[in-house]
């Protein structure tokens, strides 16, 4: 399981992808997106109906990359201390001792994040940004790598606290799994329980290998032409009248990192326009704040921009 050369690492990556695809059927494009997000060091927002395989996907990723997995169902009565942990007075040591909460995991599945109160949401998002939590004035490092996969139900909106734009910006990717196609769904119906399949999944890459892969992606070559195109894609969101708030510079940096990760997954040494195109919608869709009279959603407008913006 230990890989050293970049060649071995990328080969193992392909094997990891194949294994996840065996667990999550018929979603190879989305699995690719999840892996890109993971390699780019970003957090993932899954916007989907219940029961389409969000948890299965998160489990499969955690198992494949040998990540310490934890899952929290967000509700409106959940308190920040329920997530990050509490300091409790320990009579034996005559001092406060920190009991880490479920956030101390390498892959945290935050289910229905929009059901939590803003207070809890901001605690989670702070942790996502800083890679640490602060309790009673003491900072605690989160385990590395630390990846949050948050889910949102786009249909049921009552009793939810929609995430503010500034916090959505902390998610590198937003993707939607959707229903599987006919073939995959029939296979799903005929096969055994997914939990058993996940249990069979063996780690293909170690957490340290993931860190090494991230470093490889980071240094991938992006030519001036590719940067020009990335800039054109970002600038287009700021000029379009259907969009009230376009992509931030942070989103731009994320776009470039995701494109590099995509290129790495495709085993290229450099970023090509297709890499940027492949990750653009996932980077942009949750970040675009649309004008009140705009028709369509962020994803459809992002796809339109992709078709309009010429490659320089």
């Amino acid at each position: 399981m230990d890989h050293h050369t970049p060649e071995q690492l990328t080969q193992a990556l392909a094997a990891a992808e194949a294994q996840i695809n065996q667990v999550v059927l018929g979603k190879s494009a989305e699995v690719r997106q999840v892996l890109v997000c993971l390699l780019a060091g970003g957090h993932l927002l899954l916007e989907d109906l219940p029961g389409v395989g969000k948890t299965t996907l998160a489990h499969a990723v955690a198992a494949t990359f040998d990540l310490d997995f934890s899952r929290v169902q967000f509700t409106s009565d959940l308190l920040p201390s329920d997530l990050v942990g509490v300091s409790i007075y320990d009579q034996a040591t005559a001092g406060f001792r920190f009991h880490p909460g479920p956030i101390f995991a390498q892959l945290l599945l935050a289910d229905e994040i929009n059901r939590a109160t803003p207070k809890l949401q901001s605690a989670l998002l702070e942790a996502m940004a800083e890679q640490q939590v602060t309790v009673d004035g003491t900072s605690h490092r989160l385990p590395q790598p630390f990846v949050v996969v948050a889910t949102q139900n786009p249909v049921e909106q009552s009793g939810t606290f929609p995430l503010p734009e500034s916090q959505l910006d902390r998610f590198l990717f937003s993707i939607s799994l959707g229903y599987p196609d006919e073939r995959a769904e029939k296979a799903l119906l005929g096969a055994s329980d997914r939990r058993a399949v996940i249990a069979e999944a063996r780690p293909v890459l170690s957490a340290s290998a993931l860190t090494a892969l991230r470093a490889l992606a980071e240094v991938l070559h992006a030519s001036p032409a590719a940067i020009d195109y990335a800039y054109a894609l970002i600038a287009a969101t700021r000029k379009d009248r259907r969009i009230r708030i376009g992509l931030s510079p942070r989103a731009g940096i994320g776009l470039m990192r995701a494109a590099k990760a995509h290129a790495l997954l495709a085993r290229r040494q450099h970023v090509v326009p297709e890499d940027l195109q492949a990750v653009y919608v996932a980077v942009a869709r949750h970040r675009l704040v649309l004008a009140s009279d705009a028709s369509g959603d962020g994803a459809s407008i992002a796809r339109e921009l992709l078709a309009q913006v010429p490659i320089p």
Binding site: R241, V272, P310, I311
Partner: protein, 660 residues
């Protein structure tokens, strides 16, 4: 940089702008040509909305050839402005067929703006000028839409305010420059387009011949001929005879100008003369007639410079009047026209009649001569008495004259007619009685416009009268029409025309007068700003522009400086030269477009190669190395080897694929 795709909305604005630009040209373009161009535009609109495929070459090129051939066949001389303009209109329509890029949009909109200004070579009237604002604004709108990046524009209703503001700002910036250029652009003494002589382009007006019906046609035409402002009081309308072509030669049907030297100028002709103190002074603003005659009151004691007085008293301009001109003159209303030189030749010409025609008329005139003797004025009086006593009637739609002896038929049979019949019959009678006589055509009277304080003469004021040679006095004007229908002379030609609310007495007369006064102002201040007025204006600013060449020199220097400045701005904005790898790749894309393969700007090389693999497998083999090499040299950490590989792949592709 490859120009971005022209979006649908700017394209349709462009189409509309061109359709609007084309509209005024349809007034003189042959109807089939206008219809063809509009049909091309319509077809293009449908094609662009419904079908993605561009027009194939086998449609475009024959269409191009057909348009050019038809234009030359229809208009003849390729140097004339009609031919050039018609061809440019056709080529612009064809350019719209293949306008797919923003650059095409800018180009076509600019050409449309040029066509808007070309229109003024044909027509400078206020109505058309006001209309041209519409295509101009549409062109600006199309330019503005072309310049907007795709997706940044909403519905036209939402954007109305924004587009209006942007256009308004642009126009505001352009206005001072336009005014400056209007005053400073060198005016030539004669327009350049006058260099290729074209026959009078269907303009109505007096023509130098008078055949039955030629004046009725004019009387139905209300268009203005000239506007006259008098230095003092306007004289009575009945005394206003605006002298036009003098007709000597009668063939039994039509009257024509003299074919001998009498209709020409001569050194012995009385030239510009100094008018007496008591003479009537007035100023004329003459609309373009495409002919040389100026219309002056008889007897013209003072004639404008740059004009010639012909032997028969007619005053002509040096060149045909192709744009509004203005002249000042003086008249002695009571004086006859001097007989002038070559009196024997004039007498001979003024007594000639078509042989063996109108025996009854000749017989009657001979009787008068025998009764009265050689007294021209008395014979003329006898003829007028005859018209008065016999049941002659004035009517603008008389029964047609069909017999060979038309004058006989008119004098003894139908007895219904108007000025041309009476003038013609009168002169024939005079000649038969041995009195030298000739027909004079021109305008009589006019309509006073109290708003603009001028007299408006329309084509409907066209008139014909007679002159007889009285020894010792000269040519004396006799108007036989006045003997039959004095109201024609008193109230003007409109007294007999169809009544209209716009004319004298109509309830909209005031509106008509105001509108015409505005037209007069337009002609006086805008259209007639010529080289003389320009020189005067610059003298007011202390600049001595002795001739237009000097002005042209300064103007040229200014324009070159402006062009250099624009170029400087342009080059400083252009951040860097096109990447060499991209240049190579674009050559391949252009070839693919010609081969009917769509090459969207948002498609990467890798995706293109993959798509061609399934769509056009026969091209895929040559295209794949191009796309791979392009990708590595443009996006990879490339070296010289990649560039070499790309160049080879491109060369192989271009060599291995058909040109179209």
């Amino acid at each position: 940089m490859r120009s971005p795709i022209l979006a649908t909305r700017p394209f349709e604005w462009l189409l509309l702008a061109f359709a609007a630009t084309l509209a005024p040209y349809t007034l003189w373009l042959p109807i089939w040509y206008s219809a063809l161009l509009y049909a091309v535009l319509g077809a293009r609109l449908v094609q662009r909305r419904r079908f993605a495929r561009p027009w194939p070459g086998w449609v475009k090129f024959p269409l191009l050839a057909a348009i050019l051939v038809l234009v030359v066949w229809e208009f003849g001389d390729p140097r004339s402005r009609q031919t050039g303009t018609a061809a440019l209109l056709g080529l612009t329509a064809l350019k719209l067929i293949e306008a797919e890029r923003r650059r095409d949009g800018f180009l076509t909109a600019t050409v449309c703006l040029f066509l808007v200004s070309v229109q003024f070579l044909f027509e400078q009237g206020m109505g058309v000028s006001a209309y041209m604002v519409i295509p101009t604004l549409l062109c600006f709108l199309a330019l503005n839409e072309c310049a907007a990046p795709p997706g940044t524009r909403g519905g036209i209703a939402d954007e109305f305010g924004r587009i209006g503001r942007e256009l308004g700002l642009l126009l505001l910036v352009a206005l001072p420059l336009t005014v400056f250029l209007f005053f400073s652009t060198p005016r030539l003494e004669s327009p350049l387009w006058g260099t290729v002589e074209t026959p009078a382009e269907g303009r109505t007006g007096l023509s130098g011949t008078m055949s039955p019906g030629s004046i009725t046609e004019l009387i139905a035409d209300d268009s203005p001929v000239m506007r006259i402002s008098f230095a003092g009081e306007m004289p009575p309308r009945a005394s206003l005879y605006w002298r036009g072509p003098v007709l000597w030669h009668f063939d039994g049907i039509a009257w024509q100008a003299s074919r001998s030297f009498l209709g020409r100028s001569n050194a012995n002709t009385p030239g510009p003369t100094r008018a007496g103190e008591a003479d009537l002074r007035y100023r004329v603003l003459l609309e373009p007639t495409d002919r040389r005659w100026l219309f002056l009151l008889d007897y013209a004691s003072g004639i404008p410079p740059e004009t010639l007085r012909l032997i028969d008293g007619q005053v002509v301009h040096e060149q045909p009047v192709k744009q509004v001109i203005s002249y000042e003159a003086a008249a002695d209303l009571d004086a006859p026209v001097p007989a002038g030189p070559f009196i024997q030749e004039q007498r001979g010409e003024a007594l000639r009649l078509p042989p063996q025609r109108n025996p009854q008329t000749l017989e009657m005139a001979r009787q008068w001569r025998a009764e009265i003797g050689n007294n021209p004025l008395a014979i003329a009086g006898r003829a007028l008495l005859h018209f008065n006593e016999q049941p002659f009637a004035y009517n603008l739609s008389p029964p047609p004259l069909t017999r060979v002896d038309r004058v006989d038929q008119f004098l003894f049979d139908t007895r219904i007619g108007f000025c041309e019949h009476y003038a013609s019959a009168f002169v024939v009678l005079m000649r038969a009685a041995g009195v030298p006589a000739r027909v004079v055509t021109g305008y009589q009277g006019g309509t006073w416009n109290p708003v603009g304080q001028y007299l408006l003469v329309r084509n409907s004021d066209a008139h014909a009268w007679a002159e007889i040679l009285v020894p010792g006095q000269g040519w004396v004007r006799i108007d036989p029409t006045a003997a039959i229908a004095p109201e024609r002379v008193d109230r003007g030609g409109q007294a007999f025309a169809e009544p209209s609310v716009w004319r004298a007495g109509g309830w909209l007369e005031g509106v008509a007068n105001r509108f015409d006064a505005m037209r007069a102002w337009w002609n006086e201040t805008i259209v007639r700003f010529d080289h003389l007025r320009q020189r005067r204006l610059f003298e007011d600013f202390g600049l001595d522009i002795r001739d237009w060449r000097q002005l042209g020199l300064w103007f040229g220097i200014g324009m070159i400086a402006l062009a250099l400045l624009s170029a400087l701005v342009f080059w400083s904005r252009r951040d860097r030269r096109e990447d060499p790898a991209r240049r190579q790749y674009l050559r391949v894309l252009r070839r693919l477009s010609r081969l009917g393969v769509a090459t969207p700007d948002s498609e990467g090389a890798r995706s293109l190669a993959a798509r061609i693999e399934s769509e056009r497998p026969e091209l895929a083999g040559l295209l794949r190395p191009v796309c791979e090499a392009y990708e590595t040299s443009r996006y990879g950490q490339s070296g010289q080897a990649d560039a070499q590989r790309l160049e080879e792949a491109v060369t192989a592709f271009l060599a291995g694929t058909p040109r179209r």
